[in-house]
Amino acid sequence: MRAPGESFPAAAHHELANPQLRANLANATTTIRTKRARVVEELPDWQALRDAGSAIKADVMANLDTYLLEFEAALTAAGATVHWARDGAEACAVVAQVARAHGAQEVVKVKSLATDEIELNRSLAQEGIHALETDFAELILQLDGDWSSHILVPAIHRNRTEIRDLFRRTIAPGIESDEPAVLAEAARLHLRERFLEAKVGVSGANFGVARTGTLCVVESEGNGRMCTTLPPVLVTIIGIEKLVPTLADLEVFLQLLPRSATGERMNPYTSLWTGVSDGDGPQELHVVLLDNGRTRVLADEIGRQALHCIRCSACLNVCPVYSRTGGHAYGSVYPGPIGAILTPQLIGIENAPSLPFASSLCGACYEVCPVKIDIPRVLLHLRARAVDTVGGRGERSAMRAAAWVFARGSRLRAAQRLGRIAQRLLLSGGVIRRLPPPLSAWTRTRDLRPLAPRGFVEERGERE
C-alpha cells in the first residue's frame, strides 16, 4: 500500500519487485480482458450504448441539484430517511448512530467502494461496532488485514493457495483443499449465522433512480441480496454522482456494466428496492447521500467526467501500468486509470500529485470505458494542475529551456550539434549504455540510440 506521502513510482518499486504479484495480476487481468472483449463484440450496438451511457451521465451531472432533490423526495415518500453527508465523517456518524439506536454490535456489509473510501469499518470500530465484510474477496482481505487492489476483484493480487492458508489460520482450521468451491463453502458457513443474526445491514449502491427513489446493487455472490433483505434495518451509502434520471435509464447501464466488468452478459444478482415495504425486507431504510469531494470535482469542467464512472474496472484490466504494479501502488480505493484521475480530484491534487503521471497515455482505458470517459484527456489536465500546484522549479526551467530550443529550427540544429559532441564521451559499441541523472533512469534498463552523425533537416532542409 502506498504510504501517505509516498509517490506512485516509489510505491510501484515495492510492488514490481514481487514476482508472485506480477504473475497473479498478469493471469487475472488477461483472463478478464479476454472475456470482456468477447461479450462486447457480440453486441452490434455497443458504441451506441456507450454514447447513451455517456449522455445520461452528462445530463445527470449538469442537473445534479434537481435530480438529488427529486431523489430525496421520492425516497422520503417511499418511507426512507435521507441523510446528506458533506464528508466521510458525517456519513460514518449516521451509520454508527443507526447501529447504536438498534443495539447492534455488528453490521453486515455489502462490498462498497464508497464505504471503503470513507473508511467506515475503521470509524465504526472506534465506536465499538464491528463491520463484517460479506463479499468473498472483501472477507479475505478483512481476515488478513489487507487492502483492496482492484475495484471489482479486491483480492486479485492473491491466489487460491494463499487464500486456503489464510482460511486455515482463521475461519476454517481443518481445510485442506484450495478448490474454489471448497473455499467458497468455508466462507458460506462462516457467514450464514451472521447474516441471520444481524440487526443492521450496510450497503453502497451502483445506481439511484431519481424519479422513483429506487436503489440498485449489482453483484455476483448473493451476499448483497442477503445484506439488503435479511436485517430489519438497512443503511445505504450512495455517492451523489450515482443517480440516473429514470428506471428506463438502467436498461443502458445494466448492459454496459456486467459486460465491461466481469465479461458477463448479465450479472448473477441485480437487487432493486424502493423505500420500505410492509412485511418484506428491512422495515427501516436510511439513505446517506455522500459528497466527500464530489461537488469539487463537478466544478471542474474537464475533470468532472471522472464522476461518470460506473466502477466497472475495465480500464484497470487493460492498463499496461496497472497490470504490472497492481492497485496498492495507487494508494487509494480507486486504483488504475480511473483512480489516477479520480483520487487527485477527490482528495486534492496536492495530496496525490504523482498519480496523473502514472500512465503511458496509451489510451487503452478510453477505448474500453463504457461511458466514454476520456481518461487521457483528464490526465493531461491534471498533470498541468499538478505542475502549477506542486511542480518543481528545476523541471519547469528545463521544460521552458527545451521549448525555447525546440521553437526554432536553427536552435534545434545547434543543440543537436552540441549533443553529438557530448555523446562521444558516452558511446560504447554504437549505443549509449550509461547516462547521468536524471536520464540514468533510462539507461538502467535500456540502451539509448545515439544522435545520428547528421540530422535529416540539416541535410536537406530548405528555407521557406
Partner: protein, 232 residues
C-alpha cells in the same frame, strides 16, 4: 501535390533514414516534397508533461511553417496525433492545416489509395502497432496493408501486439521501473515472434523497444516502416 515534410525532432536527430525514406517515397509517387528548415518540435512532450503553456509557441510555429502546403506528411503517428488532437482540444488552437497533417501510412493508403509502393524486403518482419497510431491518429490497418504488399517480406504475428511498449515520453523516466516492466514483456513478445526486424511507425517507440532489445543482447533489430517501404 506540394507536400511539407514534418520530420519530427526525434526522427530528425535519431532516425534520419526514416525521414529520408519518407521523402523518397513521396517523390517516387510524383509529389513535390519540401523540408522547411524552420521546423522544430510539435510540443507533445510539453503538453503531456503538464506544461501546455510552453507548447503553445511550438504549436503556433508548426501552423505558420506548414500552413501553405497541400498536405503535411510525417513519419510519426504520435506527433501527428498530437497536432490533430491536442492542438485543438488542449491548446484551443484551430487551423485548416491540422486536418491536412497525416502520418505516412495513412497518407499513402487513405489519402492516395496506394498500398503497393514497389518495395522489396527479403526478411522476417513483425509489426508493433503503436498506441497513438491505433487510438489517437487511428491509422487503422494502413501499415499492415503496405507491409503485405512488400515483396519477399514475411510478416510474422506479434503476440499481444496492441499492448503498449511502455515508452510514454517522460513516463519512461519518471516511472522508469514500470516503463521497463512493460517493455520487458514487449521485448519477449518480439522475441517470440521469430522476426529479424520489429517495425513500427513511431521513432519514440522504436527508441524504447530498440533500447530494450539492445540491452538484452537480442539479434532482433528495430526498423521504421518507411525504411522498409523504400527498400528495393
Amino acid at each position: 501535390m506540394r507536400i511539407g515534410l514534418f520530420a519530427t525532432c526525434v526522427a530528425d536527430a535519431m532516425f534520419p533514414a526514416a525521414a529520408r525514406a519518407t521523402a523518397t517515397l513521396l517523390e517516387r509517387l510524383g509529389h513535390q516534397v519540401v523540408v522547411p528548415r524552420e521546423q522544430g518540435c510539435c510540443g507533445q512532450m510539453h503538453i503531456n508533461a503538464g506544461h501546455p503553456h510552453d507548447a503553445r509557441a511550438l504549436a503556433q510555429r508548426f501552423i505558420r511553417t506548414y500552413g501553405e502546403f497541400d498536405a503535411v506528411v510525417s513519419p510519426s503517428s504520435s506527433c501527428v496525433g498530437a497536432i490533430r488532437d491536442l492542438y485543438p482540444n488542449v491548446l484551443g488552437l484551430e487551423a485548416e492545416v491540422l486536418s491536412r497533417t497525416l502520418e505516412l501510412s495513412e497518407f499513402l493508403v487513405h489519402r492516395l489509395g496506394v498500398e503497393d509502393v514497389g518495395a522489396r524486403f527479403p526478411h522476417r518482419v513483425t509489426y508493433h502497432p503503436t498506441c497513438h497510431s491505433l487510438r489517437v491518429a487511428r491509422v487503422g490497418d494502413a501499415p499492415l496493408r503496405l507491409l503485405r504488399s512488400v515483396r519477399e517480406l514475411e510478416l510474422l504475428e506479434l503476440p499481444q501486439a496492441t499492448e503498449c511498449c511502455g515508452f510514454g515520453g517522460t513516463f519512461s523516466i519518471k516511472n522508469a521501473e514500470t516503463s521497463s516492466a512493460i517493455l520487458l514483456d514487449k521485448c519477449a513478445a518480439v522475441q517470440r515472434s521469430g522476426a529479424e526486424f520489429c517495425a513500427a511507425l513511431d521513432g519514440s517507440c522504436l527508441l524504447q523497444i530498440g533500447g530494450g532489445l539492445s540491452r538484452a543482447g537480442s539479434a532482433v533489430r528495430t526498423i521504421h516502416l518507411a525504411e522498409i517501404l523504400v527498400s528495393r
